[in-house]
Symmetry: C2
Subunit: 143 residues, 2 copies
Amino acid sequence: MRLSTKGRYGVKAMFDLALHSSGEPVPLKLIAERQGLSEAYLEQLMAGLRRAGLVNSVRGAQGGYMLAHSPDNITIGEIIRSLEGSMAPVDCVTEGEVSECEKAEYCVTRIVWRKIRDSINQVVDSITLQDMINDYSSIHKGQ
Amino acid sequence: MRLSTKGRYGVKAMFDLALHSSGEPVPLKLIAERQGLSEAYLEQLMAGLRRAGLVNSVRGAQGGYMLAHSPDNITIGEIIRSLEGSMAPVDCVTEGEVSECEKAEYCVTRIVWRKIRDSINQVVDSITLQDMINDYSSIHKGQ
DNA sequence: AATAAAACCAAGTAGTTTACTTGGTTTTAA
DNA sequence: TTAAAACCAAGTAAACTACTTGGTTTTATT
């Protein structure tokens, strides 16, 4: 049940963007440096986030990335799902897909997988980038 | 965030054991046949479950496996963790391990990973094999 | 107009992990 | 004595991960 680097780096990058956004686009180079990530690899992740409508990009010199919505309107769930796909622990409970397993209707383990999926979705969809900023502020207050 | 076949097959095998236990040990061959799984592969998983104290084995002819506790005293969480390790989405929040990341103390994303981990643990530890048997009974009642 | 900074894009790739299989040995009821 | 079963260790093909490489296109700045 590990998250891959896509989800992990994606959340870090989006948090970095949220923390350092000032109306100006933020170049990937800065995000990569601050978060200690490979710029070329991050580029691929940003493509996914852009396709999902979570960031906007500005090309050319002085370009970069900006959040497409305010930090309190972007959830961790949206970020992770756009990079990793469904949070379903097993394919047969992927949202929006019809299970190809003919036992699906009366499958007992499937009930379990669905509960796990729903629980994960519930947490990740309840955490916004703003929540992370608030956590950051309370950790660093007074410094 | 996919579960590997270890966790999936492990839960299926344990459910099968719970459903078909009558005091007599159940040979792996039967479980594998009923669940449509490879017997040789299941063997490896049973070794893990035995080490975790979730099943007992009886060697020799007429041998097999038995649940080590009653179905209402075995949770899905115990099964999955014994086969897959921690449910932590990221290594730095694996229970009982000290994170080697020197930023761990003031890491904001870590707070997120911990929430996901706790939420997953909470669901899987709340579901017992007895719950699955009950689900099974209500699906098949009247047949 | 030239330069450089940046996003965008496609393909390659080493290493790891997964999901098994194979080929045994040991134990024990019948 | 036989056969059924658990137990054990090692091998392996395929898939996946986490990148890198080598470009192109766009655009603000000089």
